[in-house]
Every structure is written in C-alpha cells, then in structure tokens.
C-alpha cells in the first residue's frame, strides 16, 4: 500500500483526475446554463455520446482534430434544438424527452459507428489534441504536471468556469437567464423573451455537452468505442446538483468525481484484494452519497422542469 503515497503516484493520480474531470466539467457547465433557464436536460448523456462519435467522424474525414471538435459542437447544438422544440415550444415533459434522446443516441451512435467502421472493434486512430505543456507553469513542482500538462480541450473546460460564472452572475444576459429559470412569468412581464432564452440556453448546453464528448475521443482516447460515455452525462448532472448550480461548485465536484475515477482505475492495477467490478462502482456510489450530502443545502432554479406556457397555464 505504500506505493500509494509516493509523489509519483500522487502526481499521476491527480493529473489523471484533472483529465477525467474535464468532460464532466464541460457537460456540467452546459447543464448549469440550461438548468438556470429552467430546463432539466438529462439527455446530455446521449449528447456526449453522439458528440464523441461525430468528433471522430470529423477528425477522421478531415484529418484535423479541430474539425472533429467543431462537428461535436454542431451535433450538440442540433440535439439541444430538438430538445428545446419538444420541451419549450410543445411543452413536452423534460425527463421523458431527455430519456428519448439518450435512447436515440445510444442506438444511432452504435448504428453509425458499425456502419462506418464495421461490426467489430474500434475506429482507427484519428488526429487528436495532444498534451500541451504550458511554458514556465508546467515546470512548477507537483502543480505543473498535474494542471499544466493537459490537452487543449481540458484547459478549455477549466477556462470556461470563470467565463460561465461571469456570464451568469455579472452580465445582463445572465440575469435574464436566471430570471427566466426562477420566475418565467415575472421575466416575461419584464419583457424578457422566455422562449428565446430557453432555446439559447439549452442549445448552448447541448454544444458544451457535445464538446465534452469530443474530449473523450479526441483527448483521452483517440478512438471511439461503443457507449463510450458510460454514464458520464449522469454524473455531470449530479455534479451540477452537488455544485449547487454554480460553475465553481461544479468544478470542484467534477474534480472530486474525476479523482475518484482515477483512483479506482489505479487501484485496479495495484490491488488484488478489491476486484475490479467493485472498484468500478465507486464513482456511482460517491454520486449518490454526494446527493445525500447536499440535502437541505441545494436549491434548484424554481421553475426547473416546468414548462412555461404564456396563456396562464404552468407557473
């Protein structure tokens, strides 16, 4: 067990934790924007999955990782718009719509993947975002290798934290968005277009979830495997609640889940006592415990999950 406490092990562990936290964080930031506008999109699991696939398609056909990331963003935007149409325009149930997107994405990603790369195995390796050491910062002992030798998309996820926080809490747009999420009727009375705000919010959320998918295929692995998202979208949803709908809070929860995931992956290789299947449950058990932990302290946007219909129905 002393192997766990060497500095090499810890640096390795935390640097993997940061890397594994990035897709959770990116998706969680998108979900915060959507939920702050009052839309609960549990379809981000499916958006991550399809984003991951189209990232590989884009990178494979163009030979350029940037095109891959862009295709993932576009995929996410389209799925976000579909979600918005059904839940905002038609007033359909948000959890059911999100579930439908998850089922659709699981089927479609497997289908298109097998169509493109055959029935077995994985896609061939595509152009991806390589780790990029930031000059000077990367040389800091301990901190450097953990935070500053990551890939571009990982940096982007963390850079988006202060940007999202600034947008939500320091701009007029952010204020309108939160007003729509907390009290759509009042926001409407003030002249804020509730429908447009929610469309924009959930589309932006979809784009970030798609980009989160591209982190899985263009930064972590440079291949796609079936169901590569493996529940990360759901863990991101939990990170939003655990982080109490704040970008900084979501960052810390994503880091917690990321390090837990990295820890169980490492235990699998060094420990013969606890079998792999039990260790693999750690992030999921932690998610449930995290939700129990914030009971009574987490207050969602007041209209979350409720459609807003102008003619006096809804809230």
């Amino acid at each position: 067990m002393e192997i766990i406490f060497t500095s090499d092990f810890l640096i390795n562990l935390f640097s993997a934790g940061v890397r594994l936290a990035a897709p959770l964080l990116m998706a969680a930031l998108g979900e915060i924007i959507a939920e702050r506008s009052g839309l609960l999109n549990i379809g981000i699991e499916g958006i991550i999955l399809l984003g991951a696939l189209f990232a590989v398609f884009g990178a494979d056909f163009s030979g350029n990782a940037w095109v891959g990331a862009l295709s993932a963003v576009i995929t996410g935007a389209i799925l976000g718009l579909i979600f918005a149409f059904i839940t905002v325009t038609l007033g359909g149930d948000q959890v059911v719509t999100g579930t439908a997107i998850n089922i659709l994405a699981l089927g479609l990603s497997t289908y298109l993947f097998r169509l493109a790369y055959g029935l077995e195995g994985s896609s061939h390796e595509v152009e991806f975002f390589r780790p990029l050491a930031i000059p000077v910062l990367a040389e800091i002992p301990f901190i450097g290798p953990i935070f500053f030798r990551q890939s571009l998309l990982v940096y982007l996820a963390f850079i988006l934290v202060p940007i999202t926080a600034y947008f939500l809490f320091r701009t007029m747009w952010g204020l309108s968005l939160r007003a729509v999420g907390d009290h759509p009727r009042a926001a409407d009375t003030m002249g804020i277009n509730v429908t447009r705000t929610r469309y924009l919010a959930v589309t932006a959320g979809g784009m970030l979830a798609g980009l989160a998918g591209s982190i899985l295929t263009l930064s972590h692995l440079n291949i796609f495997v079936e169901n590569i998202s493996a529940g990360r979208g759901f863990i991101a949803l939990a990170a939003v609640v655990f982080g109490q709908w704040s970008p900084v809070g979501a960052m810390f929860s994503a880091l917690l889940f990321g390090v837990a995931d990295a820890f169980q992956l490492r235990l699998q290789t060094i420990s013969k006592i606890l079998p792999y299947q039990l260790l693999a449950t750690i992030p999921y058990i932690l998610t449930v415990l995290a939700l129990v932990g914030v009971v009574g302290r987490a207050y969602p946007p007041k209209s979350l999950g409720t459609p807003y219909l102008r003619e006096g129905r809804g809230s």
């Binding site: 059911v96 089922i103 659709l104 289908y111 529940g231 058990i285 207050y299």
Partner: protein
C-alpha cells in the same frame, strides 16, 4: 432537485374510466400509431445512408419478427421481459416518479432468483418456482426501494439515483459471478445451473416458456391494482397532483416508496424471467438493455397495462426481426434502438400536439 417532476400522463383523472370520451380513447390509439409511423419514416434516413432501401429493410424486419413460426415464437419470448419491465416503469410513472433504474433492478432480481435456484435442489417445482419468482421480485423491489426512500425522505431526485443504481447493480452482479457465486472451478464468469425444478416449463411444444403467461398475468394484476383498489387510487392521485393528494389526507411519501417498490419488483421479475425461462444460470450481460427498452415500451403504451402488452410485442418483434434484417440486408441491428428513441420522441411530441394547436388557435383569436 427537490421539485416534483411530473411525467406525461394521458388525460385521465384518478377516477379514470368514467370521463374517458370516445375521442380521447381514439387519440390514445391513433397517437402512438402515428408516432411509430413517423419514427419509421425518420428511421428510413439512416437506413438509406447505408445504401439500403428502407422498404427492403423494414420488410426483412417484419418477416424476421412475424413471418415465420420461429420469428413469432422469438417475438413472444422476448416480449415477456419488456412487458414486465415496462409495467414497472409505468407503475412508478403513475405515481409521478421516473424509475430509470429498471436495468439494475433486472440484474438484482435475476440475482435473487439465482440465489434461490442454486440452493433448492430437490425441492418440488410447486414450491421451488414460486419461491424463485418471489425472491426475484423482492430483490428488485429492494433495489428500487433505496432510491424511493431517498426521494421520499430527502427529496433527492430519483432520476439520478436510479441511474446510479443501474451501474452499481450491474457491477455487483459482475463481481458476484466471478467471486462468491462462481461455479467451481471458476473458469467462466457464471453461476452454477439453477435447479430444474425452478425452470419455467415450455409451452405449445415450442421454445415459448411460461414467462409470457406470467407477464400477461401481471399486466392484469397491475391493471386491477391501479384502477380497482384504494392503493392504486392513492398512487395515481399522488402522480396527478402530490400537493392535492396530501391535502386530501393521502400519505404521499408512503405511496412513493410503495410505488417504487412495486415498480422495482416488476423489473426484477423481468430478470427472473430471463433466469427461469432462458439462461438458467446468472451470467454477465444477459439483458441487452431491457430496462431501457422498457421505458419506450411503457411510454408508447401510454403507461397502461394493455398498451404495454401491445407495445411490448411490437418492440420485441423489432428486436427479434433485427437479427434477420442484419443478415439479409446488412443493416446493423442497433437501428432498432434508434427507432425506439425516435418513437419516444414522437410520442412525447404528439401527446402535446393537441394542446399546442389549441394554444396557437386561442392566440390567433386574441389578436
């Protein structure tokens, strides 16, 4: 996530049948049919992308599912777990809860059944089989009860916790069949074979086993429970409007936990079905996602037992025919799950459409 998430429930009051007009029962049939047709229309696009004529693909799908004695028996066999797990999702839905944890409950239910099956050697089938069914249901029920209690006691969204319990349950089973429950000498990740006295008997001299009758029996029981007992009335009242139900003296939290337990028991029985009817031992990945398919089955069936039986047969037909289609025209069978996702999207959309049109009209009249 402490708020109540209200699922889409077709237009019915807790008193149900009395105010159901002819028009609303007609739309209850036409809307799901329209959703299926639209899904097949949109699903034609990915099939055409593969360079295959969608008509050919769908024809092979239908022939594979319903065109031969073998196809029909496959369809019937595969419909049982979908109907049972679909009933499970529907029951929680009727109480306003989303039990997305069917898949995990299926695995834990199968575990319960297996524990009975590998210990009751020598017991009469009249005792062994009911015991295996009962324990399977209880295990599934327990696995859903935890998210149910977390929801009722602490207001933690059952949406996320049931999903987390899927991963925990599936991994737990994967561990047990390699560790404590592995069949000696342990070459394969599987348990010993269940005692033959627990197996579902075969029917009609075919591969069809007792499971389909169990599924139909439970559909009838759930219908009676929901619409002809005080418990069913309370569960539906909570699902319609929890605050009003509370005001009327109904114990909302208690009903939520009970609804989750019944929901989990039904999903667990889907796992039992696979153990006693098909696999006869606990293995990994015995469920190809029945728990998720069940959501589509339940929604297409309008959360009603009769609708669930019909949509369960439809979806199992798609699944049974998918293999034949893949062999005949080279379309990956994953298209079936794509179609299911599309069906659910169109069901949600079409359920809202009448209200949407009414809103647009009233809007125009104001102007």
């Amino acid at each position: 996530m402490t708020e109540n998430l209200q699922p889409t429930i077709p237009d019915q009051t807790p008193t149900g049948k009395t105010n159901k007009t002819f028009m609303s029962s007609l739309t209850n049939i036409l809307l799901p049919l329209g959703a299926v047709l639209l899904a097949m229309l949109v699903g034609a696009i990915p099939i055409a992308i593969a360079g295959v004529s969608p008509l050919d693909a769908y024809r092979e799908l239908m022939i594979g599912a319903f065109g031969s004695k073998f196809g029909i028996s496959e369809t019937i066999i595969k419909s049982a777990p979908l109907i049972l797990a679909g009933l499970g999702f529907a029951f929680a839905s009727r109480c306003g809860l989303f039990n997305i944890g069917g898949e995990g409950q299926i695995y834990i239910g199968a575990l319960g059944t297996t524990l009975v099956g590998i210990t009751v050697y020598g017991l009469s089938p009249w005792l062994a089989m009911p015991l295996a069914i009962l324990v399977g249901g209880l295990f599934g029920s327990f696995w859903a009860a935890i998210p149910g209690v977390l929801k009722a006691r602490f207001g933690i969204s059952e949406v996320i916790t049931t999903i987390m319990f899927n991963y925990i349950g599936i991994n737990l089973v994967a561990y047990l069949i390699r560790g404590p429950l592995v069949e000696p000498p342990g070459y394969f990740p599987e348990t010993a074979e269940l005692a033959k006295s627990t197996w579902y008997p075969m029917l009609f001299g075919s591969r069809i086993h007792l499971g389909i009758l169990v599924a139909v029996l439970f559909s009838i029981l759930i219908y009676i429970l929901l619409w002809h007992t005080p418990l069913g009335y309370q569960v539906r009242a909570v699902g319609m409007n929890a605050a009003a139900a509370e005001y009327a003296g109904i114990k909302v939290k208690r009903n939520m936990i009970i609804a989750m337990m019944i929901s989990g028991a039904l999903a667990g029985l889907a796992g039992t079905n696979e153990m006693l009817g098909i696999q006869h031992r606990l293995i990994e990945a015995f469920s190809p996602g029945f728990g998720f398919d069940a959501i589509a089955v339940s929604l297409l069936g309008q959360n009603h037992p009769l609708g669930i039986v019909l949509s369960g047969i439809l979806f199992s037909g798609l699944r049974a025919g998918a293999g034949a289609m893949q062999r005949a025209v080279g379309i990956p069978d994953a298209i079936v799950r794509t179609l299911q996702g599309l069906v659910v999207l169109f069901v949600v959309a079409s359920t809202m459409l009448p209200q949407f049109i009414a809103r647009i009209r009233s809007f125009r009249q104001e102007k």
